[in-house]
Symmetry: C2
Subunit: 334 residues, 2 copies
Amino acid sequence: MSSKSKVLLVGSGGVGTIASYALEYAGKTTVTSVLRSDYDRVMEKGFSINSCDYGNGLVFKPTNVVNSVEASKVFGPFDFVVVATKCLPEVTNMIDVIAPAITIDTAIVLIQNGIGIETEALAKFPKNVILSGVSMIGSANMDGHIEHESPDMLRVGYFNNQNITQSHQEAVSRKFVGIYQNDKNECVYDEDVKFSRWRKLVYNACLNPVCALTGVDIGRLEIWGGVDSIIRKAMREVLAIAKSDGVILSEDVIEFMIRSDDPVYYRPSMLVDAEKQNLLEIEVILGNPVRIARKNEVNVPYLTIIYELLRIVQSRTMEEKGMIEIPKERPVPK
Amino acid sequence: MSSKSKVLLVGSGGVGTIASYALEYAGKTTVTSVLRSDYDRVMEKGFSINSCDYGNGLVFKPTNVVNSVEASKVFGPFDFVVVATKCLPEVTNMIDVIAPAITIDTAIVLIQNGIGIETEALAKFPKNVILSGVSMIGSANMDGHIEHESPDMLRVGYFNNQNITQSHQEAVSRKFVGIYQNDKNECVYDEDVKFSRWRKLVYNACLNPVCALTGVDIGRLEIWGGVDSIIRKAMREVLAIAKSDGVILSEDVIEFMIRSDDPVYYRPSMLVDAEKQNLLEIEVILGNPVRIARKNEVNVPYLTIIYELLRIVQSRTMEEKGMIEIPKERPVPK
């Protein structure tokens, strides 16, 4: 009888696939991966992976591969259900998606960007531990081939659930770190993961959206004056919202984030998504922070206006994907 | 000997070509038109025109067609030099371009959008009359074919030149109206053309840039909430800047402009230009108004941020057109 942990992984993009690889590589886990578009290909020949952490030319198939959460249940019950999808709450409630696989002993691990991503999980599973994973990684999935270019560093803590003791939530967090950490990656327990999440947002809420809206990489944005005229101001707004939410970030983080891609003309993921006409994570990256700002009466014109512009872009993408329709004739007020 | 007025016309797009047609049609003018990309085609077979004012299937060649301002001089001296190009001061100083054709008796007629477009003309020709033409027209030039879809309505006044009596400037304005007005169009002397220019900007500084940035027409922008979240606020900012510049616009103009394209999913010209990766008139539509706001201490976050975003888009377009270059490696501060 196996003493391995059982992990269900939902969302096998660049982040999720390396997470499943890391978990299996560490040897303490059997991973069941729910795939959709990659299912047939991975069933047949696995993922191909070039990884800065694990080496190139790898072929990888998680222990179990299924094409739905329902189908995963025969491999449960799961100790952890890891959600590593893009976070698009306006399109999909991922907590509803994973619900069939959740038992009272399952911890939900959200390895996703943004603020306020835990709301649905805490509401639907008020007695479960909800972990917060803040990932620093450069990794992309291109039709089943994973190009993993910058090291996997994962900070893990918990979204505080007042129905559960903090010591238990910490123990579950540390258990996940224990099965994820291996000799190639870096996974740590973060006792202030809320701080880490806001800190990462300084980059994500500013450089990602502005590059996506203007269609340029971060280097060009800086050369043409946009880092001065837009980014520093928007980043200061993130610091102000974080402060209103009880998180004090040092001003230094602004220059740190601006310089973090030197000397590359780096194309942030939201720019790449915009060019592919993919949906963008605007609600958790911008919408929720802007709503917190409004509630706490923090004035954030840059983030607000950039969010409002990107909401229109998002609707355009949804129409292009056939997810929404508009009337044939433009509606006119009476 | 002809008693006709002599007009040099620079910029034969949708607006300029209909202007040259209107002037010749009225019978009081010989037009010399400076063409660049359309020169060969128009020399050979003229413009083809479908016009809501003048009829369809027209073929039109101005009296004189030349390929440079220098070459136009044999047809001068000109009573009026009409500039109907897009206004891109960061790329071309049109006053330098037309300078060879200007005599002390020439009035310069700027039929262009935006605020502050007269600065170079007044500086370089302090003794000449500078007229301000505010055009309401729907007309586009597609490779020498003009599709003129909504009526030509032109308001003409003068940018006040303190070196010249107002009565003379008014007389010159009225003279231009007299040669432009015909039985098909509507051209009026406007004693407060500054008001008309700011009024038109309410539409142009808001709907044009936001549609260009988000890639959607005005109908979609409204359906998806952008008119509420962005446009009305930006338009109120235009009213505030105008007020600081001595022009009082009624709040009613906001709903008038928002409704002015009903019931069409109208694609404003700047959206069309953005999709064609053309340069955008951001300096005179947004940049100059934002600078006036700054000078007069008017808080205009929407216009400011939209301008700053579009400046990046403009630089991207200039790089794509080979007008600017960036260093091969991203510059890094020491």
